[in-house]
Symmetry: C2
Subunit: 150 residues, 2 copies
Amino acid sequence: MIRTTDSRSADAAARALYGGARMSEQRSLIARAVLSATGAFTADELHHRLRETSPGLGLATVYRALAAMHAAGGVATVGERGGSALLAHCVRDDHHHHLVCTSCGDVISVDCPLGETALAAAARAGHLVTRHEITLYGLCARCLRAGGGA
Amino acid sequence: MIRTTDSRSADAAARALYGGARMSEQRSLIARAVLSATGAFTADELHHRLRETSPGLGLATVYRALAAMHAAGGVATVGERGGSALLAHCVRDDHHHHLVCTSCGDVISVDCPLGETALAAAARAGHLVTRHEITLYGLCARCLRAGGGA
DNA sequence: ACTGAAAGTGAGAAGCATTCTCATCTTGGA
DNA sequence: TCCAAGATGAGAATGCTTCTCACTTTCAGT
Ligand SMILES: [Mn+2]
Ligand SMILES: [Mn+2]
Ligand SMILES: [Zn+2]
Ligand SMILES: [Zn+2]
């Protein structure tokens, strides 16, 4: 039986999030917390979770580790909540966006809705779109079944 | 000759931005600055501009006036730059988004690209999209002609 | 025009997320 | 093993935005 919590594969998965950079005990813990998170989280939330088993872990270290994972592409900013950035583990490597469940925090990957139509309209008006940010908020299938249909 | 700076119509336009609320000398000045801005601006930028002719104007007053206009619908958050919110005068009352020129700050109104296709895809997966944020960045026609084609 | 309660103002303090500083560990290749 | 580069933790610092409070202004009702 192969377990996803196997220490060898867990280490490899955690290490991969940093893109081959140096690994510390703290960064390993933080990466595992990111991998085991069910949905989106803020830096502070992750810090609180980690504090339960690692009381000495600093908040700045969490921020630094998340920035490193973000740079390596394993973590994405998927929205914001109450003034804090919402992050999540993101494996998809093609261009896409995220739907964040405002009830449970789950993150659903969505294809980019900016198609030929939208970009062509901008081009027709003489403009050039070089970058865009799209975030969807709503309810995931589970939360919609649970309470949205009442 | 009818001038856009006619005091009667300027007052009316400024007043309209607040949605009929009480009007002070400061709010009038701030509303005119919003109306005369060519594109997007931060609260601090607007404050600096206003300071040139109204040295006593407080930054908190600018923030409060912008919040009031935002609530009334005459001002929209159109993006962010360097950690500050980018605002702009927005008259369009139907659902739309904004393309901000990263060169000159001009704001171009764009139709919402989230069509049936995108929403249906989410619905098919059992999700419900209740809210979304879309911001485009790029170059306006003028800036594209000026430097983008070099 | 007068009055007064509600609303607005200015200065600075306060909040809050995030980043920086710096002295002190760790890590991992040589 | 050695050590230079990198990571850590605590708290200071930063920067945008909001709040507090004493004071002033607005305007609906008279
Ligand atoms: Mn993703
Ligand atoms: Mn608009
Ligand atoms: Zn959910
Ligand atoms: Zn431009």
